[in-house]
Amino acid sequence: MKFLKDVIGWIPSLLDGAKVTISLTLVAVGAGLILALFLALGKMSKKKWLNKFCSGYIFFFRGTPLLMQLYFVYYGLPQLTPVLTINNRFFAAFIAFALNSAAYTAEIIRAAIQSIDKGQFEAAHALGMTYAQTMKLIIVPQSIRRLIPPVGNEFIMVLKDASLVSIIALADITKVTRSISSSTASAMVYIPAMILYLIITAVFSFIFNRLEKKYSVYENN
């Protein structure tokens, strides 16, 4: 009984934490998605320097721990040059997560685009479309449905990785949970916190499933 009462008391703080976790994940994955589209197109480009740059970017962000990237954006960049000082913790976390997520999403997008039948490019060419028109009108729209499941997966990964921001003292679910835990000298708060994560994950999984159905209308009726 006491536990339930405690949980009810923790809910408002946990929900505040959830706001930070969810909004960070949404903006980071969203911005990452846009950046990733350019990275993916760049990596498929015939221009050598662009190709190298995008490959290098992806190699770096996938090859180093996100925790270090986050540290470096918040603590390292200001030391490199004061111009790059980011005072807002949320914004710092956003930058690190978006840059990181873009690297993973770029590979997802590249795979989706390359899975589109070559005949689609040929038909677009035969109709006189430029490369940009072909991508915009034909290839990218068809890739979207194939993108949704892996991007949904990436979203949930980021949602959980967002717990890393507690190390720069940003009050996400994990940070709030740890504070409550140390002030009550009990780890019981982890139970509602984990349930909260599960609820959020379940809601977004549902949304991504619906999106996938929505974009499948044209396939095999």
């Binding site: 039948d117 005949g119 689609q120 040929e122 038909a123 060419h125 035969a126 109709l127 006189g128 479309m129 430029t130 028109q133 009108l137 034909i138 729209p141 068809q142 209308v217 044209y218 396939e219 095999n220 009726n221």
Partner: protein
């Protein structure tokens, strides 16, 4: 003026030479059928005409305008990108596997290029698309997705889609090879009507009946070369080369 003229087209895939000095001229309103055993280079040749395949040697003219000139793998002449694109707008193509855009409805498939490439207004493009789809007998399928159509219907949409760009030349790359036998006729009859309306056509086909009936000229290709050419009468009744005789025997006995 000729619609298409190629001189000494050669193409290699690695060490394999798939086209050997293919020279061909197609006159306005002419229907040319290219026949031959598989691996003869028929489709590859057709695809070089609108730059789906690069060539290693030769010249390609579309409506007497030089588009490409290579000598032994070295590019001698290249039309600026926008001029080349403009010239290629006069060349429409129909593929073996249809290649319709699966995420767009039938009418959108037909409208998308005129709107975005020719910059035609939506209304005009729609009107034209409805008209073309009626002509190929699919006026009642405007708003369905390609996956809901049979192969023959999809290929007819693909023909309408190509025609919507008002090309002067139509290339057909084995347009009926991916179809169930009972669906071949509906596509061939659309093509026949197109030929009667005076379209310049180059058709790679295994349909000997179509070639015999519709073609003005039949090209027989084997081993990357034009082995023999002539009227359908000459090719089918009086074949000269052994290669062609052998080929005709094999397709007729099949």
């Amino acid at each position: 003026m000729s619609m298409i003229r190629t001189e000494n087209i050669c193409k290699n895939f690695g060490d394999l030479q798939v086209l050997k000095d293919v020279s061909l001229t197609v006159e306005p309103k002419e229907v040319v059928c290219i026949i031959g055993p598989s691996g003869a280079g028929k489709s590859t040749y057709l695809r070089t005409l609108n730059h789906l395949e690069k060539i290693n040697n030769g010249k390609i003219y579309i409506e007497d305008k030089l588009l490409d000139h290579y000598e032994n793998g070295e590019r001698k002449f290249k039309l600026p990108a926008h001029e080349r694109q403009q010239a290629l707008l006069d060349v429409g193509m129909v593929f073996q596997r249809f290649n319709l855009f699966p995420h767009r409805t039938v009418i959108e498939n037909v409208m998308i290029a005129p709107i975005n490439v020719r910059k035609v207004s939506k209304e005009a493009a729609r009107e034209k698309a409805v008209d073309l789809l009626n002509r190929v007998g699919l006026g009642d399928k405007l708003n369905v997705y390609p996956a809901q159509l049979s192969g023959g219907q999809q290929q007819r949409v693909a023909i309408a889609r190509a025609l919507a760009m008002e090309p002067k030349i139509m290339l057909f790359d084995e347009p009926t090879s991916a179809l169930d036998p009972e669906l071949v006729g509906e596509v061939l009859s659309v093509m026949k009507k197109l030929a009667e309306d005076g379209m310049t056509m180059v058709v790679v086909t295994h349909e000997m009946g179509f070639a015999r009936e519709v073609a003005d000229r039949v090209i027989f290709m084997a081993d990357g070369k034009i082995e023999e050419e002539g009227t359908p009468q000459q090719i089918f009744q009086q074949p000269k080369s052994d290669r062609l005789k052998q080929f005709l025997k094999s397709v007729i006995s099949a």
